[in-house]
Symmetry: D3
């Protein structure tokens, strides 16, 4: 089984960066994978264009590069986790995990017995080296990240971090902000959010797992990494399109004005 590059970076104490795919389009996913991220996450929770069949298509597309394919599953549900791992994902991001028990449910779903309860079946990830090899190594290579995105999760974060089978905590700043009453656009500089982030980092370190944070552009992501987070999303397909087309159109209008050509 091919090694998980993100885990290897972590073993060396190095942070990893990832892209985010909400369109569920394999071609777009492949284009993004060529940006050179360590990982690319297919967002099956909020990615409007993502469905069960596009998950495997996107993983196949990403497999044309050496980027690690991850999937955010729609909810903390073992059969979703089972499916995406069978499809060849090297890890999952599990939303709305609020307790040690919930975290354990996610963590155990990522591991074959005796460590967990992942069901054996024809895995795409096993195609390259065979089922025996895959079953022997998958428990070590698969990443399981649980999302900390409610005040309840924050209160339980030290216990969540100790749940069996998980590799890290992943802060979801939008839902957490909404729940803490923090501004959706201002969390990056909000004291409450910074305190929460610090608490998550410490809980992760104490438990020997990895603190991660959903990003918000290059500058914020870099700042989060300086704080100690070891995985940040630094771009999404849909936002890159939105922002890129808006700024391109603006640049065009300005160039028209500079050229002295009237344009609405």
């Amino acid at each position: 089984m091919k090694k998980n590059k993100v885990k290897e970076l972590w073993r060396q104490g190095k942070p990893a960066v990832m892209g985010w795919c909400s369109s569920g389009n394999p071609y777009i996913a492949e284009v993004m994978a060529h940006a050179g991220y360590d990982a690319l996450t297919i967002d099956w929770q909020h990615g409007v264009g993502v469905s069960q069949s596009s998950v495997v298509s996107c993983i196949q597309a990403i497999g044309n590069t050496d980027v690690v394919p991850l999937v955010r599953v729609p909810k903390n549900e073992p059969d979703y986790i089972s499916y995406v791992l069978d499809a060849g994902a090297y890890g999952v991001i599990v939303p709305m995990v609020n307790s040690n028990e919930e975290a354990a449910m996610a963590g155990l779903a990522c591991r074959y017995a005796p460590q967990g309860n992942r069901s054996i079946g024809g895995s795409r990830a096993a195609l390259a080296t065979g089922m025996d090899d895959y079953v022997m190594h998958a428990n070590d290579e698969i990443i399981c990240l649980v999302m900390i995105e409610t005040t309840k999760a924050l209160e339980n974060v030290e216990e969540i971090a100790k749940a069996p089978g998980i590799d890290g905590l992943y802060i979801g700043p939008s839902d957490l902000s909404l729940d803490m009453g923090v501004s959706l656009s201002g969390w990056a500089d909000d004291e409450r959010h910074l305190a929460a982030s610090q608490r998550v980092i410490e809980a992760a370190r104490s438990a020997g797992v990895v603190p991660c944070h959903h990003g918000a552009g290059p500058a914020v992501s870099a700042k989060l990494m300086k704080m100690g987070f070891m995985l940040c999303q630094i771009a999404s397909d849909v936002r890159t399109i939105s922002a890129g087309t808006a700024s391109g159109f603006q640049a065009f209008k300005e160039a028209m004005k500079e050229n002295g050509v009237s344009f609405r």
Copy 2:
């Protein structure tokens, strides 16, 4: 039948701008349509993610905005033109048109009798106002642009411009450059390309049709419009993703350096 906004702009002597969709993904197309372009072209010729079924899905997605849906067909072939117009496209861009006869084939395929030979059938575009209304107005609202992208086409451009049923000439700079021996990355400033552009503009004006040019970023597009082109593509989905993720990653690395955090 709803009016074609691009044609209305042209009637007022105003240029129009458009986006370009190569992914064939309806969600991405809809996101792009919200950028505020006048038109959005689905590229069924070179758009790797585009297929027959995604053409209609993208047109339906674009229909959630007031952007005009256009399609570049795979070749100058009446049945492709028929399909995309039935699907609700308000115009076509037809590649590799090298003579008056070829241009007429495209132009007539866009018009119902007696002007042309478009076959009548259950058009999606007719859903809103009924088939009778659609057949009565479609010949006036549909745009047919033929691509000038070979030296042969350039030689025949004055005759091409007079072909029945066409609304404009659309320069494809990459293929034209390749054919003229002009650098693929330097055509925007190349004398031969500028001369060719000027000839196309004049041929179009003489024939009472509209000169159009495939774009290459905001600055070049603005310059082309200053020259007199009335329609330019100013952004594509795939290039926006490529460029946006690359520059975002670069910005992240610089932010890491500024923060004094080591990163490969």
Copy 3:
């Protein structure tokens, strides 16, 4: 955020009618939307042709008209509700809700904090006006209807009606009939069903929510509206095809007979 036309009708005390899409085919959905209904529901529960990816395709197709897109989710499950609302649905119909707690689970899944626990993410519905605007208004515009379709639900209907986050009760007559021992084809005139309907209307009115009823053709739907129901389904794609082709074939046979032409 665009207003929800169905909610506006209700605010004016007017009933609304809707179509029903079981095929999951965007073209069929768009054709139905042109019939002029106030809303069109995509049935992800029993609609054999509906899947996760067709939900968003159908919503995009319906968006070419001003009909309100609703979705019946497969079960009372927050992640299904989250997905269809992110995809741009303006409301959900939630099957098999039997208690106040279950109704609250549905209702809260439709609302962002502080009213509920809907997770924030890249919503298609936010494309037009931006995420901030969408989050500010979605709680007011989204409709949450819970289905009353068991005797147990009927017993608890007054409590169900008071659940937070719900807008109305929606009777599912087939399952309810099956559970009450009422004939599947005769419920519209059955005393037990009429009594149940009356009870649901009163429970809804007392709680300040809206009584709704799945329809069974124009005449029955009109009768239900006379009783006080404020939303009825009056046609489905699959039944319209079945009934329309059967009656058309019958008419053809009769015309053949009138013409004196033998036909099997």
Copy 4:
């Protein structure tokens, strides 16, 4: 190889009726097939929802009944004909055939050597009985109908009828009317159209092939059959939906009025 029921009816001197599928949706196609038609045609020319992959899906769906699957191909092009026959269609309707040569191109594309030039390949239709059996019988069972839908075709109809490999002539009344200057909604009673129909019937009979006519509702179709046409389309999915939902909505409004309930 299973016999072609439509050909068997013709051998017995009996006419056949067919449905028409423009949505390309397999579930809708299957629902239509249960209406009891002899054949069901998937319209890959003007059917906006039809694409290459939906053709085979619809044929598989229709195969759940004993209805004969036919396909109208996008144009008179051997590779389209080859694909749909490989996919299991029992016949093709070929649009815009204007001469004996064009008709022969269609006819020969439907037959294996030595009668024609259909290329051999893995046919779905051969699954049931094997390739040898299929190749032995396909030339006899496959139906090839060429469309007469221009004045030019009408002038050449006697020669077209004699083309090798074709089984019948199929009048396309909309395009023919447009080309003859006949009203799109009035052709069924127009003298010119009736004369054209008569000429096609006679040309077909003289050449030993079958006269067919696209239908326009039960009454017109029955009248056409009385004239001597042996195959008529009597319903399409999209029109059945349009007409059925419109009349249902109207019936609902009338029922509301009868019930004395105000409704817009």
Copy 5:
């Protein structure tokens, strides 16, 4: 409603064999169905290529033969069961059932009231004979098999076998082996597995339900049937491709060697 051929075999005391489809590809499913199995199971749990929409496509494809379509659902979840039965499956295989209560949940989800709680809706399976007929017979014809694949399930197997609504027990040897510490490749001859198999057979017989076992090639499946199992899977699409291409390539290399032609 068409009879369930597998149930009829069982009523006659005869075992049934089935194929297994992991690709979710309708064409592959149809090819497999022509192998002459009694049933073909679409594996929505571990079949990487299977998704909600491919389930119905595969069932439609299988319907071109008289093979019985079954589906393994992703988990013991009533809405998955409801969907696949609506789509026309004649039975389900339900994974990870560990107690009488869990088995009852699966069993009741397969039956309409009063035997169970399956919700009524537009079933594809009802197309042929109508909803009334389908509802009258479905409870008798649908097969519900629950999987015994943990030591916990084995401990409870006698109680599981008595759960209402189930037709049989289905051993999943891989997960069971993993849980019992038996070798994944050696279970067929392992004493512990044989003892477990015997216990399942006896529990099934005592409760009047049918013992079934996932297969592992022709020889093992035949041995299992000799033991008394009444349904075995004897081939899967993906394994047939893997094994067939490997052995074909090997045969080619040997033929090259015999021919004296060098080949890597």
Copy 6:
């Protein structure tokens, strides 16, 4: 641009073997690619499950291995060739090429100017190294094979072999046999076919291109390679399934008999 492994083998005087994909299913394609072939051809001509969108999906799937993706296009049509090369195919097999002119049309469609007339556009194959690099190398790496499958092609084979832009001749034995009156199942030992094969080999060698032959199982393919063919298909997905399931079922029946268990 990554080197074309098949061309490299040829440069070393070594033959190459390939698999064949008719299902168009990316998962099946990926499974086949793991068999270790040098190339895998997606058959868009006779592959019933293949469509425009599945071509790119299969190429993306194959890209998870180092197998070279080829496509047989539906016909000798530049826009099909353009599409599959843009999608990332490393070569095309072009059916029904009967003259030097037809071969040149195929060959030139595979080459950018000045060698040919392939249109430039956003190529998936260029993702890895950029468009400039791709355009510089594609003409050397792309394989263009034209099919010799009629007696007419055989008569012109020496001229066909000299056409610009082609890399080899590819015998299609089924169509050729049909056209020569040779038995479909007996061509491998037929004198006429052997003579034709010899002529193709010599024509290819004289012109400096590569002789190739569609295979028919390991033994025949090895024999063809001994004759001098440099590329053979040795397995297809659909045939592997058909043959594998049939022989597996037979083995099961025999094992049942050996076990003394009665089975139909």
